[in-house]
Every structure is written in structure tokens, then in C-alpha cells.
Amino acid sequence: MKIKKRAFILGFYFFIMLLPIYWMLNMSLRTNADILNSFALYPHNPTLSNYIKIFTDSSWYSGYLNSILYVSINTLISLITALPAAYAFSRYRFLGDKQVFFWLLTNRMAPAAVFLLPFFQLYSTFGLIDTHIAVAFAHCLFNVPLAVWILEGFMSGVPIEIDETAFIDGYGFSRFFMTIFIPLIRAGVGVTAFFCFMFSWVELLLARTLTTTNAKPIAATMTRTVSATGLDWGLLAAAGILTIIPGALVIWFVRNHMAKGFAMGRV
């Protein structure tokens, strides 16, 4: 009886959680006219026309390509800079190490809007506006500290004697780092990459401000497609579904590492 009650509550929770997503899926499979005309719990005449439009109209699909591109660049930059930084914080004691470590984290505390104006000014000066690299760099503001923070936790879990043994055995630093150390914190790198991906993927303010057309993210495309006849609900819903998919895929791939990351207490 008790188990049934629990199952019921969980089922209800699950239902509430999934309802908006289901509703979006429902709308994405209907035409705009159909949506505005009648209320339906499921699409009576399902159509893929919304999806076809997104995949054939370059102003739509380029939004996805742009987002994927700058998110990937950002994840790569974040990992490349955070790995050595986290190693230094984990292995060396230097003047002000704890303060710098905390300061890195405080970058996450300020709203992105605070940095908007200086970023815009700076990037215009260097002619970086409307490039993918501009958004990737801007997102480093909150992703690099996060990556350092997560990776430091994983690295500190590796005994320093392994480093010393490697140096005694004659490993150079870079070779040790690439062939011995990184495989040891694989899970940490996976979790970090996931978080960098996620935060960069959902960030809208910086991405929209620093781009105009060539590097416009999908979220911006969605907000800008209000036509004279009003919103195209079906198209927007389809775009929304397609926006969820990459995140869901990434979560699926790192789900095992995530549990470990949470257990380490740094995520």
C-alpha cells in the first residue's frame, strides 16, 4: 500500500514535469491554424511541416549550427585552460592561492548583464562582434571558474604520490599529464564538459547581444521570428523541441559520470 502511494506521488510529479514538454511536442506536430482553432490533447492530423521548415530554411537551421559551434569552442577553451589551472590549485601552494580560487568562483556570482556593456564595447573595438569566437570567449567568464572548481575536486582525489612516482620514473610533465593524469580524472573531465556545454547552451543574453546575423544562436532566432501575422506557435514549438535534444543527448552520455561528480561534492 505504501509503495503504491509513493509510486502515485512520483507518477504525479513526473506527469507535472513532463506536461509542458509534451504540450510543446503536441503543438510542434500541428499547424499554426490548427493550434489557434481548437484545443486538442493530441494532434488529430499530425504533420511534420514545422520540422521540415526548420531543416530547410537556412535562417532556422543556421541558428542551431551557430549555437553548437560556439558552445563546442567554449567547452574546448574552458577545458584547455581549466585543466592546468585546476592542477596548479590542487598540487601547489602559492601566495594567495585560496583567495584566487575563491575569486574565480565569485565571477559566477555577478549577473551576466553586469559584463554586457564592457564586453560589447571591447568586442566591437576588436571587430569580434557577430563571430562565434566572441560568444565562446564571453561564456568563458562563467564556465572557466566552474570548470576549475569541478576539476580541482577530482584532481585532489588523486594521490600526489602518483605524480611523484611518475616524475621518478622519468615522465616529463606534459606526457605525465596527458597519459597518466587525465585518464585518472576522465569522469571529472566528462562532468566538466557537460556543465560547460549546458551553461553555454542555455545562455541567451550575452549570446544575443554579441551577435547579429552570422553567429546568431537558435534561442535568438526563436525570439526574433515574430511575423506581422503574429507568432507561429507550431514552428516555435518545433524549434523548442530541437533545442532540448542536444542537452538531453549530452546528459545521456555523461549520466554515469554525473553520479560520481555529485558524490565528489563539487558539482
Binding site: 604520490e161 612516482t165 616524475f167 620514473d169 606526457r175 597518466i180
Partner: protein, 367 residues
């Protein structure tokens, strides 16, 4: 020739980890550093390895100054107390990694890895990952990796302490054999006197970051030059009885009195401290010269096939190591016997004045 340390100090913050360490380790020698925890054994080993730099002092290897040379450029191998292997590499690749880095050709690496694996009885585990092995097997892998490169210096930091009793005994015997065949200077740290004696070679007794005594193992065992050395190098701890010498007679503890003779007869009158190892106490007299100590039993514990009896004589606590398993009632009166020839005699400063073997070796004492 060999490894030479001159006046090495190591200070971390305001804590002194090592002080005035001077050592001369001959090429091919086996050296055992014995000391309690926090005596500075690991600090000294790390300085020898080049993992840490001394605050002051010089280290030379065969005449070359290597004080500031980085660990990568030294010819050194080290085994830690924890089982340290590369978790992402198989046992084979773990053992082979020092050779691969040295750029030796594959065939030779393969031959040497298999040879060393056989020596350490892990030849059937070569394809496994270290995480899937037992503690003993992991440590064997670590030892194999340390041995495969013919280094000038082989350092082992309490390598057997995390293993269970049986494995430890077995691996200790094997290590003894392996050390005999090496040309390297072997430095081995331990807290256990029995292990130090078994491995033999030179003993370096450390306490609170200083070297108290060095010398061949039996010499140090038979002539611990200070009371502290005797404490560190005895298990169960050495027993001390306060006493004094007056006009040819020794007064010990509570009303024990015997006549000075033999090697002790030329000791001057005064206060002394008489040390005796617990295995030299007996429950029955062995001869007419034995002196009798009356005491009460405080505790009796059985350790393997021996019984340790903790007794109290006046305000002195003593430990008697007795063969066989005995049940002794706590609180009962007991008489133990010891032959005076077994006494180590220390003066009030704790310096050895007379030992059972008669000779006092001052060699290498860092006093």
C-alpha cells in the same frame, strides 16, 4: 663513493623536519632507517629522492653534487607505503613504463618485464589493471616498477606496513634475496626492530628529525648508545631500572642489591639507569648469579606463542617476554629473574656506559 649527505636540514614553516643529517651510504650497501612515526624517515627519503630540497646542506652522489638536481634527472626508484601504481595502465605497462621512457627497445623491455614479474610472482597478472588486484599484488607491482630500472638508489618507505602479517613475512624474505642481487644503494625505512634486524645491513636510528646512531645492525642492537636508541630499537620496549653504584655494590630499584663484577666493575660510583630487554627476564632463576625482582602483575597479554607480562616493581613498570602461552592472574605477586650481565648501563645523561657485549662502538654516532 656512494651517496653522501652533509649537514642536511629540512624546515617546513616553523617545524624542523630534519636537523643536521650527515650520512655516508656506500655504493651497493643496504641501509635500514628505523624510527618511530614522525621521526623524519619519510622526509629524509624524499630528500634522497630529490622530491624535496633540503633547507641547507649538500648531497653528493659518487662525488657529483646533486643537491638541486630534479628528481627526473636522478637515477632513483621509490616504493611508497601506499600502493602507488598508474591505475589506467595494465600491470605490464606499469612495470614497463620506466623503460619505455628511457627509450629501450620493445624486445628488451618485454624480456625484462617478464623476468622481474616472475621474480615477484605476478607473471600471471600482467594483463590486469592494478585496481583489480589485492593489496599484496599491487605492492608487488609497485616494487617491480621500482626494480626494473637499474637505478643507483632504491628507496622503500615502509613498503610492507599496509600488508597483512603473512604477506609481509613472505615479501620481506623475497626482498632480502632481491636486495642481495642489486648493485644499488638500498634505503629501507621501518618502525619495527625485528624487520630492521632481519634485513640487516646498516642501521640508521632516527628520532625527532635527527640521526641518533648508525652502524651495522648487530652492533647497534647490542650497543644502543643512548637510552632513546634502545627504546626505538626494542620491541617490546626496553625496561629501565633506576639504580646507583656505591663502593662496589649496585642498588637497584626497591632494595635489590648485587655486587659489581666483570665489565661493570670499573664504573664510577654514582646514579645510573639499568636497561634490560624484556626477553632477558625469566620467571625462574637460570643460575646462581641471577637477581630476583619482586613485583605485582598489572597485565598479561598473549602475543602469538609468547606472553607479555606487564609487572610493577615499586613505581617502575616492566615488561617480561615469556615463551609459551600462560594465564597469569592480574594483581598476583610474581618474581622475575635477570642476570646482571644482561644490563645496559646508562649514565644520567642517557649515554651508554657499559653493554652486555662489552664494547661500546661510537662509530657514526651523530652526537
Amino acid at each position: 663513493m656512494g651517496l653522501l649527505l652533509q649537514d642536511v636540514d629540512k624546515i617546513v614553516g616553523r617545524e624542523v623536519h630534519l636537523k643536521d643529517i650527515s650520512l655516508d651510504l656506500a655504493a651497493g650497501s643496504r641501509n635500514v632507517i628505523i624510527g618511530r612515526t614522525l621521526a623524519g624517515k619519510t622526509s629524509l627519503l624524499r630528500i634522497m629522492a630529490g622530491l624535496d630540497r633540503p633547507a641547507s646542506g649538500r648531497i653528493t652522489m659518487d662525488g657529483r653534487d646533486i643537491t638541486g638536481v630534479s628528481v627526473r634527472k636522478r637515477s632513483v626508484a621509490m616504493v611508497y607505503q601506499q600502493f602507488i601504481n598508474y591505475p589506467s595502465l595494465t600491470v605490464y605497462n606499469n612495470i614497463a613504463s620506466p623503460l619505455k621512457l628511457a627509450g629501450i627497445d620493445k624486445k628488451q623491455i618485454d624480456r625484462r618485464v617478464r623476468q622481474i614479474a616472475q621474480m615477484l610472482h605476478i607473471e600471471n597478472l600482467l594483463d590486469r589493471l592494478p585496481a583489480g588486484l589485492s593489496g599484496g599484488q599491487q605492492q608487488r607491482t609497485a616494487i617491480a616498477r621500482a626494480l626494473i630500472k637499474e637505478t643507483e638508489l632504491l628507496l622503500l618507505d615502509e613498503p610492507l606496513v599496509n600488508l597483512d602479517y603473512k604477506l609481509r613475512e613472505q615479501l620481506r624474505l623475497e626482498l632480502q634475496e632481491i636486495f642481495k642481487r642489486r648493485k644499488a644503494i638500498v634505503v629501507y625505512t621501518t618502525t619495527e626492530p625485528a624487520e630492521a634486524l632481519m634485513l640487516g645491513g646498516n642501521i640508521i636510528v632516527m628520532d625527532q628529525g635527527r640521526i641518533l646512531q648508525t652502524g651495522p645492525a648487530p652492533n647497534v642492537y647490542h650497543n644502543p648508545i643512548t637510552t632513546r636508541v634502545a627504546e626505538v630499537f626494542s620491541d617490546p620496549p626496553i625496561n629501565y631500572l633506576e639504580g646507583s653504584i656505591h663502593s662496589g655494590k649496585v642498588i637497584l630499584g626497591e632494595n635489590i642489591c648485587f655486587t659489581l663484577n666483570g665489565r661493570m666493575s670499573d664504573l664510577e660510583a654514582g646514579d645510573y639507569r639499568f636497561g634490560v630487554r624484556s626477553n632477558h627476564f625469566f620467571l625462574n632463576p637460570n643460575g646462581p648469579g641471577d637477581i630476583k625482582i619482586s613485583a605485582t602483575v598489572e597485565l598479561s597479554e598473549i602475543n602469538g606463542s609468547e606472553t607479555f607480562i606487564h609487572i610493577r616493581h615499586g613505581d617502575t613498570s616492566l615488561v617480561v617476554q615469556n615463551e609459551g602461552v600462560h594465564q597469569i592472574k592480574i594483581g598476583s605477586a610474581i618474581s622475575v629473574y635477570v642476570n646482571p650481565s644482561r644490563f645496559f648501563v646508562y649514565d644520567k645523561q642517557g649515554l651508554l656506559k657499559s653493554s652486555p657485549t662489552g664494547r661500546i662502538h661510537q662509530t657514526g654516532a651523530a652526537a
